[in-house]
Amino acid sequence: MLLNLKEYHRPASDPIPERSFDRVLTLLARPEVRTVVLAGGDTLLASADDSIRAVVDLQSLDLNHLAQDAAEGALRIGAMVTRAALAQDETACGLSSGVLSEGAGHWGGNVQRNRATVGGAVVVAQSNDPLLLALLACDTTVRLYTQAGYLMLGLADFLSQRSRILATPALVVELRVPLGAPAQRGALAYVARTASDAPIVAAYAVVEAAEGRCVRARLALGGVADLPLIASGAMARLSDHPLTRTAIAEAASLAARDLTPPGDYRGSSEYRRAMAEVLSTRVLRQAAALTA
């Protein structure tokens, strides 16, 4: 129970969205009343955070859009789109071998995914969330609304600065996922206690190759740090190189080399680091094989 929650706000949609966004920011900016954004509600209500005095429900702000923007070459995902909707979306299913759809679908059960939102996932930023890894691997951009207007940030940058940015305050309104080249392929691998359990460690790779050489590779790892991360060293190792087993092994080794994962009861630090290499190898090989 949010014991001290006294105010529930649900700003109405406005023909000029910025006006309703401004109302949200005004509510969030009140120093005397701790106010937080309410998306699906699962994480927030489960937190039983006694410091919360007010919530702003975004359900009426028309942030449920999920559409391909041909002009921008991106899939635009409103912050209130649910994981279930994204998992079933045709464009998402076709993007980079369906990594986005797969990532959205691998979380909780059916009834939980019907409420959990994509925006919520980005704000909560759980390290082992496969959706976040998929979004990172797909080079997603976060569109925020702030008191200074709209702001676009790469997802990795947003995640690393998210506490500060959200405190300004700011509202995540949309994610933009580049559609990528048609030849782009992706793969997910994870280790978990059971098949549908949240991953202990997960890896996502998106690879584009031409004439046997890697044109572009993005590798995202989860469960190996406080936040999901992009394995830049591994990506650099592969860029413009043939996708050989040796190159992939070296890239995976680089991905794991400098990690100091926090351990817990589901996996020690040592285990997580080892899995980072195993799973990086696996997804890079799988994605590379799909490009062939």
């Binding site: 014991l3 001290n4 006294k6 429900d57 909780g108 059960g109 019907n114 409420r115 359990d197």
Partner: protein, 985 residues
């Protein structure tokens, strides 16, 4: 604030505070099909349909639903005949759930129905995977999801307009153990029409020696309580509302060990809406045990309602009664407590070390048997059969190894919940989710300062128990609050409390030592156990004693020259500063079979023997004495027992065929990083506690020839009300639908020890049969007079009493005659039963796994269980018990574990973090029964409820051993543990 929703098609306006969840609002407004199972949206019991989509309502503010459509199970369908009013009846999904036996406790059923309804609105041709996906967000702890999935597929077929034949069928008749038949696998019958699911339950196909003609016993009757449960009717404790009812809450200890140095509750008491705040200073100190067991309690008395000393993180500090949940929570926050912390014990290996902190140093501690609180020993057991040391010396090989099993939680989806109030006669009425209503009444009387006769315990429907509710855990506090306030009080655990301040399975460290001859004959067997009872010793002696009593009896170790058993079982059950261990389905036996059956695998491999043949060479046989029976009986006088029925060899052979034992062992193959293996375990359990467990029943006839069957037995979702009704129906010659079965209420139903020790079908069932025979005798006397024939010539069948010449009178006519017309009296009978025997059920369990050798992840692909549980009264409920039990045991094998930090705080007190299996990740399950007729019971039954828990973990571990060639001696088999074993050098 006012919220407007369209609730089940009707516009309604509701008042709800900003912080109230939709779950709480709906329940406050009488929508009781929506259940509380957690507060984090992870169990799914609170599922509603929001604008058509199934979503959890415990993590949804009521305000979020404003302006939306909300659908609940109340709108699905209802009983077709309501007096003069007729309705459209039940929804096909509801009907299918009833017909397939998809309902056990029924607590999660409304949520499953809503999730399935949405799927069938999208497609009437769902695949099994789609059904499993649809149900994946609703946790079920009873069914293993087998029958709910089958029900959805069946409903879909019906809704497509297909002619779906009746669900379920009878089992093959029994094996005559005096003349064991050749076991033959038959082809499935042509009329087998169950939906083909991933977890198909295949009913047994065994040739037989003799059959027992029965009409209702052995039939797949629907559960007697299914219709109400499928409608989500207010049948559970928390569904009861009372005027002026207060909310009870507990403040729990944040420290593992120490004293309350100072406690100030003045601010909490002053908070408006607070009616009582109780601490150790306010309630009498009455030392007792919370274990729901027969008198005298076979364990130490080491617990008081509220104490100054804290013994684990989660122990009770204070209790509050307030007008609302919110006020109660605020009151808890206002209680100021200063603690004096003491050194604590978290590792049971430290408990008996010199200088260890003493957890129970209170002067009023009442020891039992060999417990020694000065050494933190809650119980000590030493059983010695034969000369073990000499037999070990004579053995060609002695194998020794250590194994470890974890603390796991029962996690019934309905948490502990209790409502207490004073009735108009100043009697304390305790309505509680308990497995032991009569024990609860007896144990609570001194604690509350009331005589037994001034306490009434009512057990409504229970949302699962699994042993957890064999504990009188919160009733005392709830009643103390009613005594303090004069008000009705409801106390309901949160999910976190259910984990932290409830009971769990005893973790154990087990050392095995076994003497074997070169040919594989076992001549000596020793098990040494260090068992962790946690902070209190409620089930310390009996659970751990059972570990030895049941497990060490499977292999009598009597294959030496003298033909005598050489068995040693030694156990220390120690206190630690962790949550209390207690009863959990299996009651110590799963903890013993993991080490025993892992050890058997290790020995077989070391000797180059087939593990199946090695086991069968040494396993106990029908006609032998139960090896441990004369040595131990739960702390009471022991008597020797004969094993009369035992089809374990047939179970093992058939199971081996089902899993493909011969072809699949010691394979290497598949992809580079994937290896596959198969493993097995043999297991046995008991059926009730001999010479102790007693059940009773009463039956009376009504004017229309129907009967009231009153039983003290406690149906916690198992279907016991149904099978007891079937037995009564068999004796009285009428269908189960002619019975109004009621359990249980200490004011109205006869005594029963409660639902534990796999006893109900055997003990309470025999009591029902006895009561029914008394009633049958009275019916025959009346009918004899009416037909002018001797009573002993009357036969009861088809709702009539028949004379040999073909004349008959209906039971309704008999009832009217006896109640209204001549020689008037109430036809009524009482029966009770206690047995000197505890006939063991036996089973063989098999597992097939894939192991990812790079990550250590184990995927269990198939589980097979073949059981000899005597005669099966109801194949549907019995298979449901096995499927659900296997699924719980699967969690024990691979993913369930309570984990604590360095200060004794549980780090995973919520679903998700504490992982239990969901519908979409289940392996294939196959269950078969090999029926034997146990002669000590009128219908030949033995137990079925607990044995499914016993062998899954060792079978899975042995399959992993087969796959990777390395034994992992600790469960659960988490990826890191398996990976560690693979990389240990």
């Amino acid at each position: 604030m006012e919220i407007n929703i369209i609730l089940n098609g009707e516009q309604v306006a509701l008042e709800a505070p900003a912080n109230e969840t939709l779950l709480d609002t709906l329940r406050r407004c009488g929508v009781f099909s929506v259940k509380h199972g957690c507060e984090t949206g992870e169990c799914g019991a609170c599922t509603v349909r929001l604008d058509g989509l199934p979503v959890t309502s415990c993590t949804l503010l009521a305000a979020q639903a404003d302006g939306h459509r909300v659908g609940t199970a109340e709108a699905l369908g209802e009983h077709p005949e309501q007096g003069w009013k007729h309705t459209d009846g039940l929804h096909p999904l509801q009907q299918a759930f009833i017909e397939t036996g998809a309902i056990q406790c029924g607590y999660c059923t409304p949520a499953q129905l809503l999730a399935a309804q949405q799927l069938l609105e999208q497609t009437l041709n769902p695949s099994e995977a789609e059904v499993r996906e649809a149900l994946s967000g609703v946790l079920c702890r009873c069914t293993g999801y087998v029958k709910p999935v089958a029900a959805v597929l069946r409903a879909a077929a019906q809704m497509r307009g297909e002619n779906v034949p009746p669900s379920g069928r009878r089992l093959a008749p029994p094996i005559n153990m005096m003349e064991l038949p050749t076991v033959m696998l038959d082809e499935p019958p042509a009329d087998y029409a169950e939906p083909d699911t991933q977890t198909t339950t295949v009913l047994p196909k065994v040739s037989v020696a003799r059959s027992v003609e029965t009409q209702h016993v052995g039939a797949p009757e629907p559960k007697v309580d299914a219709v109400k449960l499928v409608q989500g009717k207010p049948a559970f404790v928390a569904d009861v509302e009372m005027r002026g009812m207060l909310v009870g809450k507990l403040l729990h200890s944040p420290i593992a060990h120490g004293y309350i140095k100072h406690i100030d509750v003045s601010e909490a008491r002053a908070l408006p809406g607070v009616h009582a705040v109780l601490t150790y200073q306010d309630v009498p100190r009455v030392v007792h045990s919370t274990a729901g067991q027969s008198d005298p309690i076979p364990g130490p008395l080491d617990f008081v309602s509220l104490d100054r000393k804290m013994r684990f993180v989660g122990d009770r500090v204070a209790a509050v009664a307030a007008e609302t949940e919110e006020i109660a929570q605020r009151a808890l926050a206002l209680i100021e407590v200063e603690y004096e912390e003491l050194p604590f014990i978290l590792d049971p290996r430290d408990a008996m070390q010199p200088g260890a902190p003493i957890i129970h140093d209170e002067p009023d501690y009442v020891p039992f048997d060999e417990c020694d609180p000065t050494r933190n020993v809650a119980a000590h057991i030493h059983i010695e059969l034969g000369d073990v040391d000499a037999a070990m010396q004579a053995a060609d090989h002695v194998f020794e190894a250590e194994y470890e099993v974890p603390r796991v939680q029962q996690t019934p989806i309905e948490p502990f919940v209790c409502i207490t109030h004073w009735d108009s006669d100043d009697r304390m009425v305790i309505r509680t989710s308990t497995q032991v209503p009569f024990h609860a009444r007896r144990l609570l009387a001194p604690v509350l300062g009331l005589p037994v006769k001034r306490i009434r315990v009512i057990k409504p429907r229970i949302g699962g128990g699994f042993g957890n509710k064999q504990e009188v855990l919160i009733e005392d506090i709830c009643a103390h609050l009613t005594i303090a306030t004069g008000h009705p009080v409801k106390l309901e655990y949160t999910r976190e409390e259910q984990f932290v301040a409830s009971t769990s399975r005893h973790p154990m460290i087990v050392r095995m030592r076994t003497g074997v001859m070169a040919d594989g004959s076992m001549v000596a067997n020793e098990m040494r156990v260090l068992s962790d009872t946690g902070a209190y010793g409620n089930h310390a002696l009996t659970v751990t004693g059972n570990t030895g009593h049941k497990c060490m009896s499977l292999y009598p170790a009597n294959r030496g020259a003298d033909g005598a058993s050489h068995i040693r079982f030694v156990a220390d059950v120690v206190y630690t500063n962790k949550p209390t261990s207690g009863a959990y389905r299996g009651y110590g036996v799963p903890q013993g079979f993991f080490p025993l059956e892992s050890h058997m695998e290790h020995i077989a491999r070391a000797l180059g023997l087939d593990p199946l043949e090695f086991r069968l060479m040494n396993v106990v046989q029908a006609g032998e004495e139960h090896p441990m029976s004369k040595a131990w009986s739960e702390g009471r006088e022991a008597h020797p027992e004969l094993i009369r029925t035992n089809a374990i060899t047939e179970c093992a052979r058939i199971g081996a065929e089902m899993i493909g034992w011969g072809n699949k062992r010691r394979r290497s193959g598949g992809a580079e990083e994937q290896r596959r293996g198969v493993g097995m375990a043999l297991v046995m359990q008991g059926t009730a506690i001999p010479n102790l467990d007693m059940g009773a029943a009463s039956i009376k006839i009504n004017d229309d020839g129907s009967f009231n069957l009153l039983v003290g037995a406690t149906d916690l979702g198992t279907g016991s009300d149904t099978v007891l009704t079937q037995m009564a129906a068999e004796v009285l010659g009428c269908p189960p639908s002619d019975f109004i079965t009621y359990s249980s209420d200490t004011d109205f139903t006869p005594f029963d020890k409660g639902a534990y020790a796999s006893s109900t079908t055997y003990i309470s069932g025999a009591a029902v049969v006895e009561a029914a025979r008394v009633v049958a005798g009275q019916i025959k006397a009346v009918a004899g007079r009416m037909l002018d024939v001797p009573p002993d010539e009357i036969v009861l069948a088809e709702r009539q009493a028949w004379a040999a010449d073909g004349r008959g009178v209906t039971l309704a006519e008999v009832a009217l005659e006896s109640l209204h017309h001549g020689s008037q009296h109430q036809i009524m009978g009482v029966g009770s039963f206690v047995s000197p025997d505890s006939p063991p059920p036996f089973a063989a369990q098999y597992a097939e796994v894939a192991v990812d050798t790079e990550t250590g992840q184990v995927t269990v692909e198939k589980l097979v269980m073949v059981l000899d549980c005597g005669m099966i009264v109801n194949p549907t409920t019995a298979t449901g018990q096995v499927e659900g039990g296997m699924t719980q045991a699967l969690g024990y094998a691979v993913c369930e574990e309570m984990v604590f930090d360095e200060k004794g705080k549980l780090v995973n007190p919520r679903f998700g973090d504490y992982r239990i299996f969901t519908a979409d990740e289940m392996p294939e399950l196959q269950v078969r029964f090999i029926q034997t007729f146990e002669p000590t019971h009128p219908f030949g039954v033995k137990a079925v409820a607990e044995i499914p828990l016993d062998g899954v973990a060792p079978a899975v571990a042995n399959a992993v051993y087969d796959a990777i060639g390395v034994q992992v001696p600790v469960i659960p088999l988490t990826p890191e543990r398996v990976w560690g074993a693979l990389n240990q050098g």
